[in-house]
Subunit: 402 residues, 2 copies
């Protein structure tokens, strides 16, 4: 397979944009990306477009990529429409990487775009629920003990993540040995990072007390410990090493691109993350000790701490220490979610994976402004998507290096 | 890029199966495919799953592949969910081909599955309409003059195809110089072929009179000249040449796999078909004169005749002659739609492209039973999908050889 680089990355700010449509968001991200690369759109040979719920929110299924790219001038090239729940954009990137690594194309676009917020919040939540096997939705809700009015107000996935993190004691105030204060500290860190990121949905730092005292959602989680509903688009230009050299373009190399699905029988995210990470480290010849920064899937705050362990950033059980010792904060040895993560940068599901990739690419290019990680050489992204039972449906891990 | 072969192909019968679900259809096609190959499912390293409207019909979006493959034992491998309207399955096959040609995988599954029929036919038709840019749906319907009760009973795409085939005189009883009798003859041929295919939705031959006198749909088209709504699944196992040799598996080589999108400004299918075919012929080093059989996108009967010309099976204007001289009938020099085509084998949108590929693979393997083409060496599939304005949104052309 050929060597592949990312020479352009761009995104909209993530947030709730009730007045903006999918097309508008996609166009902004695409323009930003080609400007970032300094390349004309005419060089793009194929586009891989991730989106998760537009069909259910807007009624536009099946040719969403063609529809949102229509006015960019990209129509005519191959356009592939991709879904994989919250990992849709990582899947689009993965397909783009394969197509360039194969030798078929020299320059392709990966785009993730999502419009999840809707004046009818119940509609947003229903659409989001299509990221589980809906034939067992009622059974899952029953097992989670979701009933009553408060359950209608929150995403199923907050309960589901809690149960996956702590199958034996889902109602406990600590999760897998992680205390509420430690969960809150993840949120403090990610909101602090988000405050430095002009593209983040939430750009205000919060204190530990504010996190702990913010609106209760479920179990130990307050609203600041849960990723928000949102909209946005993010994109990357993926090119062959040879094309980059020929055009004088710079950008990090893609060292590994791994996509797997969960086996469906684990009541945990851990096995999928470990399998995907192990394969990525092997593919890249890079170990967790080499990583300088990471963007991970902090859909709920405690997940970030267990992900440290599953990605082998530390020994099992040492996740909270990594956080408390500020290793994973900006300025630490291995900053995690410098963008603000899903908690603060936001989580427009079909765009999130590319939002992570954009952040890592910008960091490795030294373009991350106030949140720049010094001397970073190697970055990782980890992005989960959807649920089969109490297991994850999709898991993507990518590795990049300068 | 590596040489790639198809060593297994399988499908359900296409038809209206109100009591069968997507999962049931997918499982049957997958089992049929691995049995056809004589290979265990444990060899499959990734799955590319095409579907077009399940989100709108069933509410299951975004992880449809994981849901339908859940009980097959394939969960755990990378699963990519793909949409491209009526070309969804060809797009899934195209991605599978790239992933094997790239060297990333040795053995992958491409699956197309669709459940379009619903007790509420209006719901099926609404879901199908998501294959256009829905922001201009009202304008398209206005331009097509679709109004009144009869328009509610038929698919938008019959009117749209007529307009694309005959932009200057959409109401004319002839289309692009093709007479009603010639259109009817396409239907007679394809229903005759379908009568020999146990997997076809319609398995009864029809006479020219029966076609002409069947229920009127729109313009010159009767119901026998229009592809039906339907359900079904079809799949293929795509492997590297080296894997096939090592495992002692046989199957045709994939000589070309081309996907493009329409440019959005043509009021015709012709430019997209010509561009995709030209690229496929170049990629394969094979010309139209080398083709022994083809499966093409006869969504409406007259389209098949213009497709002959756009694929360069004959000179411009000679399409009707090719049909009338029985060149494209079983027993002729270049049989087209030996499966029965969209008209008789059926058109469950997200499965159709793989239905075409299954037919060509079986023919090249000598497994086509009563409809076997003798001494065939080279086969072509052509599959269009969705509409941007009055242009096609996606177009796929594949070439296979023994």
């Amino acid at each position: 397979m050929r060597k592949v680089r990312v020479v352009g990355a761009g995104m909209t700010r993530f947030g709730k944009f009730l007045k903006r449509g999918l097309r508008d968001l996609a166009e902004e991200a695409v323009q930003h990306t080609v400007q970032d690369a300094g390349l004309g759109l005419t060089e793009v040979e194929a586009a891989y477009v991730g989106n998760s719920v537009a069909g259910l929110i807007t009624g536009q299924e099946t040719i969403r990529g063609q529809v949102v790219l229509r006015k960019t001038g990209l129509l005519g090239i191959p356009i592939v429409n991709v879904e994989n729940a919250c990992a849709s954009a990582s899947t689009a990137f993965h397909l783009g990487w394969i197509s360039v690594a194969s030798g078929l194309y020299d320059c392709v676009l990966a785009l993730g775009v999502e419009k999840l917020s809707d004046p009818d919040k119940a509609k947003s939540l229903r659409a989001f629920n299509s990221a589980v096997d809906i034939s067992e939705l009622a059974e899952i809700e029953k097992q989670l003990g979701r009933s009553g009015e408060d359950a209608k107000e929150r995403s199923l996935f907050m309960d589901l993540y809690l149960s996956m993190l702590n199958p034996d004691e889902p109602a406990s105030q600590s999760v897998n040995g992680i205390t509420r204060e430690q969960m809150a500290l993840v949120s403090v860190k990610n909101h602090y990072h988000g405050s430095l990121n002009p593209y983040a949905q939430y750009r205000e730092a919060v204190t530990l007390e504010e996190v702990l005292q913010s609106r209760h959602v479920v179990g130990p989680l307050t609203v600041h410990m849960c990723s928000p509903l949102g909209d946005g688009a993010a994109a990357a230009l993926i090119v062959s090493d040879e094309f980059a050299r020929r055009k004088g373009l710079k950008g990090p190399r893609v060292n590994a691109s791994v996509l797997i699905s969960g086996r469906g029988d684990d009541h945990s995210m851990a096995p999928s993350i470990r399998r995907a990470a192990t394969r990525a480290y092997e593919m890249a010849g890079i170990g967790p000790e080499d990583i300088d920064l990471a963007e991970v899937h902090d859909a709920v705050a405690p997940a970030e701490i267990t992900i440290y362990e599953d990605l082998r950033f530390c020994a099992p059980g040492d996740g909270p220490k990594l956080l408390e010792d500020r290793v994973t904060w900006l300025g630490g040895k291995l900053p995690v979610n410098t963008s603000g993560g899903l908690l603060a940068r936001g989580h427009p599901i079909g765009a999130t994976g590319l939002g992570q990739i954009v952040e890592v690419v910008w960091q490795l290019q030294g373009k991350a402004g106030k949140r720049q990680v010094e001397n970073c050489q190697v970055g990782l992204t980890q992005n989960g998507g959807g649920h089969i039972g109490f297991d994850l449906a999709a898991m993507a891990v990518h590795l990049f290096s300068v």
